[in-house]
Symmetry: C2
């Protein structure tokens, strides 16, 4: 059976396109608080679980050994724009471990942020692995690897750190398993854009993982403390998680520690909501994350997080019901939650929206 | 009821994302040769019908008056990359009408082609309306408008040429109605990215319009001749229709006049197949055109157009079953037609594919 429509794109007075998908909102005990669509089919969470993948960096003591700052820990949880601040921060993390970008195995692409990309070109430069949107996560892996290497040669130990069997990836996998309860040995396995493994995990389990990050329930004390440390780092340096204009950055700049959300490729979104002790996981079937997922996440935040100020309410309303303009600045349409999603989120969403 | 899945994205051994949609293959008499999903719901065809929108440019005599070349007529049917050749050709069309880019009402954006965009930035330049992917279509509108203006001041006559009631848009609308049989006065109306009207038209009618372009059946002799002229122009200058790396350009470079295909925004694709006298119209529900539509169109071309050479078969196979690589060049997955589409297209598709 097809998943329900979550988001519609309107042009003039007609629906032009629409996005189907599924979502799960789960508490720390695994109780499903809200759900739409199939939440038991395994999906590749991609970059939406970078917070889970960064847990060993903190829990192992590597973050402490290399004196990683909030900015650097936030960058370890980021899919960043490749703006200068992101690039410099990733380089600083590697320098603290006594290494440079030649150790990175994430690959190279032009900065995701068009302005940053054109600025690089205008300077006559070309991108390196530090511009890869995952360079901070990989710099975190390198720091973790240096700790695990002990007395061994760090570069030699790190070679192939992206492979599923490497000690770094085994630590990362163990953290994912502990948070989500998913047995990765029996999960579908794919290779992510930055070459690390990505495992097929049900939305129900991903939401549980984020409820545990939000609440600490079900995590060992060390992992729970690491989750709190990462949430605080991200909240204090939200620019590092995305960058100029990015949804995650804008939402966390406005809401601080009250929301810890993260986009992933191919229509994935996850969030920890600490006040309510809830975790959220979303997958849009068609893989659209730049518009569909954001509308779903904004709508859920409006419903699940009390918004205290007009500017918070206005920001979330503008992200949940997006006005579309064309190249001459004419208003041509909008993106908005479909009735199925509006129905699900109910009264608090309507109350917040009514106050805008 | 949900439209069927047309295309799947695979990562490792699992389906990561999938695209639903509908398609119609129709002959010049309106008989439906093949169909999947709902082909009677109105959809905005966007830029997929630029060939129809360019018919009045030729039929009116404007193309002849301004001695437009094949390259220029192809650019009038284009969603181009904004590469230097596209920009220069659009400027040349305007110059032939005694005007410049200040008359264009399409708006401005950076070139769609990343390399062209960065090259512009590296040269210290910024884009103008000629870089807009629709600038050739608009330059064609300007040429048509200058003819319609007669003795009136051309600039004054052209002001607001993008509005539905302007004489230029009335001519364009009449051509769309004649080709598709759709009564635009009662169709959903939206504003396109380049500010001209876009009308909601059923896939069945859009496919009929392209079958008429393919065969001339049902068109006045003047419109049929204009359709033939445009198909030949596009086939002789396929770089102008898209540009470096673009699906339409690559397919028409390989197949010449045997396929006249055109992408549109939001998951639209149309094609005229002159040998079989067929028209094709595709809409992917979620609006994805950069991967989903192309796989559907390539699969239909494999099935409907006899491929005579190994290079033709290899090109279409590579576009219908796309290998996906990550930033390090590792093979991570593929895009391919879903069983529902493979089943529809049947034996000839399998025969072409078996020869690859």
């Amino acid at each position: 059976m097809a998943n329900p429509v979550l988001v519609e794109t309107w042009r003039g007075g007609a629906v032009e396109s629409f996005h189907r998908g599924a979502l799960a909102v789960v508490d720390g005990d695994g109780a499903v608080v809200a759900t739409l669509g199939d939440i038991d089919r395994p999906v590749f969470p991609r970059s939406a679980i970078k917070v889970l993948q960064a847990l060993p960096l903190v829990e192992s003591g590597a973050a402490e050994r290399y004196a990683l700052t909030d900015e650097e820990l936030a960058l370890a949880c980021a899919s960043h724009n490749g703006e200068p601040a992101h690039v410099h921060t990733a380089a600083a993390m590697l320098a603290k471990a006594g290494l440079d970008d030649s150790v990175l195995e994430c690959g190279t692409h032009w900065p995701n942020h068009d302005v940053a990309s054109r600025a690089l070109a205008a300077a006559g430069a070309t991108p390196g692995p530090l511009h890869n949107n995952c360079s901070g996560k990989h710099a975190g892996f390198v720091c973790l690897g240096c700790l695990l290497a002990g007395a061994q040669d760090h570069r030699a130990f790190l070679a192939g750190y992206v492979r599923p069997g490497h000690p770094v990836m085994r630590e990362v996998g163990a953290a994912i398993e502990a948070a989500t309860g998913c047995d990765l040995a029996h999960a579908p396995l794919g290779t992510d854009g930055c070459s690390i493994p990505t495992y097929g995990i049900a939305l129900r389990q991903l939401a549980l993982g984020f409820a545990r990050v939000a609440s600490g329930i079900g995590l060992s004390p060390g992992r729970a403390a690491a989750a709190t440390r990462l949430r605080r780092a991200v909240a204090s340096a939200p620019f590092m998680v995305g960058g100029t204009g990015r949804f995650d950055t804008r939402v966390m700049q406005a809401l601080g520690e009250r929301v810890c959300c993260k986009v992933g490729a191919e229509g994935m979104y996850c969030a920890a909501l600490p006040e309510a002790g809830l975790g959220v996981a979303i997958k849009v079937d068609d893989g659209n994350n730049s518009r569909a997922c954001e509308v779903v996440m904004a709508t859920l935040i409006e419903a699940l997080v009390p918004l205290h100020t007009d500017s918070q309410r206005q920001l979330l309303a503008s992200l949940a019901d997006v006005t579309l303009f064309n190249w001459r600045g004419l208003q041509v349409g909008r993106l908005a939650a479909h009735a199925s999603l509006r129905e699900l989120v109910g009264p608090r969403h309507r109350a917040n929206r009514a106050m805008v």
